[in-house]
Amino acid sequence: MSAVAVIVATPLIGAAVLALVPGHRLGSRLNIGFSAVTLLASLVLFGLEPSSGALFVVDAFNIYLIALTAFVGLTTSVFSAGYIAHEIAARKLDERKLRFYHAMYQAFMFTMLLALSANNLGVMWVAVEGATLTTVLMVSLYRTAASIEAAWKYFILCGVGIALALFGTILMYMAAQPVMGPGMAAMTWTELMGHVTKISPAILNLAFVFLLIGYGTKVGLAPLHAWLPDAHAEGPTPISAVLSGLLLNVALYAVLRFKMLLAANGEAIAPGPLMIAMGLASLLLAGLMLYRRRDVKRFFAYSSIEHMGIITFAFGMGGPLANFAGLLHMAMHSLTKSAIFYAVGHAVQVTGTQRIDRISGLTVSHPALGWGLLAGVVAIAGLPPFGVFMSEFLLVTSTFARQPLLALPLVVGILVAFGALVLRVQQLCFGAPGRVEGSGAPVASVPVQGTLVPLYAHLALVLVAGVWLPGPLVAWFQTVAALLG
């Protein structure tokens, strides 16, 4: 239990410290330091027995998400150090904003880790709400017209989503209260799991609809996805990386916790069809929208909607195999997409533009960056030997075996998105390198600021997962897949 407390407390202390530290160099180093401590503490969790208390719960489901979140948090903080050094040099950000940015980054990590480890449904809600607030502030960091509009849209849509999720949480308490009596127990997830068979299924159903729509807004599921591309495109790129890689996962995690309650109840409606419908809608819509995108960050944001659709579809299908695929895909998408955003962040900085048609020939001008981006896109498109291929393959085959009719739109969606990715990555990575937007100097003359280690570390992990999954990880995924029903 103490390890969880350390994991949650470290970023909180980090946020307080970073709010006081002047100077962006020291700030970004401390940011890396706090993230590293969080990651170390989360690795300690693997050595401990699963446990639960009034405030925190650690089980097979969230332990890997906590570790994943801490890991991506660390690599992003490394990427962020190089990124902001460039932004300072380009005079796009000043010291005061960066102090705020670093504090918010740690505050964001705090809310994510709290949401993942909270045992109390109310605390989980507060944490997701906090994550919304911190990211809204970071999305509007550049104070451009477009970034404020994006933040406003994000805030209004997710604010309403969060409100609906709270209504669902209240309903959930109302359903449990006659059985478990008033008080904290009826808000505690582990207690609810123990008594869920006695809870009236009717209110549970109603609660789940609100929770799915509410938290689903934050997952970016169609038709509630409108905030996501704007928020990704207009904020600083490290924030795009953690939004796609972490926040969407955490929101989905919240939905799944409630799905587990419904599955354990037995008499409640099967949440599957709802999730399948929303998942497929997101997949197909985002797949088609990919073709019309001109902004590179917006392009990959739509790709995130597509993948969250695939994952939601997988959990909607349910069953050991599809759930396994969903869990694996959550991890793989998180790693791959944040790697892509690291590469895109560097690419946007060296070329000075976010427009896809003005970025070209990255493999020629910056080979390490260009090939890294290419590998990332190949991975996210679902090509072997990367991990995303594994999870998509598992999902497609298990769907074909059980519901061939549902497998068709799934495959069509994946292929449509695949086409768009191949089309755009050619433009980005090959051809003759262009000139820097504004100054007109050759792109090759601008060095990549910072290190490419985070990018390649993620790609290596995704590659390893595609070739060989460690035994304990498979065992975890199988336990959780069974629990998810």
């Binding site: 809600w125 607030l133 406003w152 805030f155 209260q177 704007d230 917006r298």
Partner: protein, 220 residues
């Protein structure tokens, strides 16, 4: 529970709902803020009454927070923003009274039809309170959709939160953490909204969201 306790709680909840209806058709920002203040006062009374009749003292804190934040601080601050930006003369398009009533009544019907059948086990007060609060939430959503001005969208958002507090105080023994968090989040939300309102003002010289929304972010 005595009959009086039930009736009073019922009436106060209904007043909150009534104010939601009134919010829908206010065209002037000042009157909108006034109606919102009245809704917050009704909500304060509901929370205090529940605290008294159920003997749950922690609900007094909720009542106090609602009173201080939503009935006093936020309306006063929004009032000042409106004056400062000289938009108090703005008459903005809102739904007409007739249309508002039709839309509102159908949303209330919807929420009653949705809530009552599934809550057969719960007490009458809980059920009706839930139906009322769901109606307030839905009317708040309707208001956010039908308004274009940033200030009225903020008010719509907060009336949704009022509906949530109404739901939370109506369920017996709801742990304090939720109400605290709602009150807290409103405060934080307000700070952010405030910041945004000023930044929007700086950048666009308007609070009309429709003009701002024409920025698609993707320049051709």
């Amino acid at each position: 529970m005595s009959d009086l306790g039930y009736d009073a709680a019922h009436m106060l909840g209904a007043v909150v709902l009534l104010m939601s209806f009134a919010l829908l058709y206010q065209r002037r920002l000042f009157s909108l803020l006034n109606v919102f203040t009245m809704q917050a006062l009704a909500l304060t009374a509901t929370a205090a009454w529940q605290a008294y009749s159920h003997g749950e003292p922690h609900l007094y804190i909720t009542a106090l927070l609602t009173l201080v934040l939503k009935a006093i601080l936020i309306p006063v601050a929004l009032h000042r923003i409106v004056v400062k930006m000289k938009i108090h003369r703005t008459i903005e398009p809102a739904l007409g009274i007739g249309l508002t009533m039709v839309a509102g009544v159908s949303l209330v019907t919807l929420s009653i039809l949705l809530v009552l059948p599934v809550t057969a086990d719960a007490t009458a007060l809980t059920r009706e309170n839930l139906a009322l609060s769901l109606s307030v939430v839905l009317l708040g959503l309707l208001m956010m959709i039908s308004r274009r001005n940033a200030v009225s969208q903020v008010v719509g958002f907060m009336s949704i939160e009022n509906g949530l507090i109404l739901a939370a105080v109506g369920v017996a023994g709801m742990p304090l953490v939720v109400e605290m968090s709602v009150a807290f989040s409103v405060m934080v939300a307000f700070i952010i909204f405030g910041i945004f309102l000023f930044h929007i003002r700086e950048r666009f010289d308007t609070l009309d969201m429709q003009k701002i929304e024409s920025f698609r972010g993707e320049s051709d």
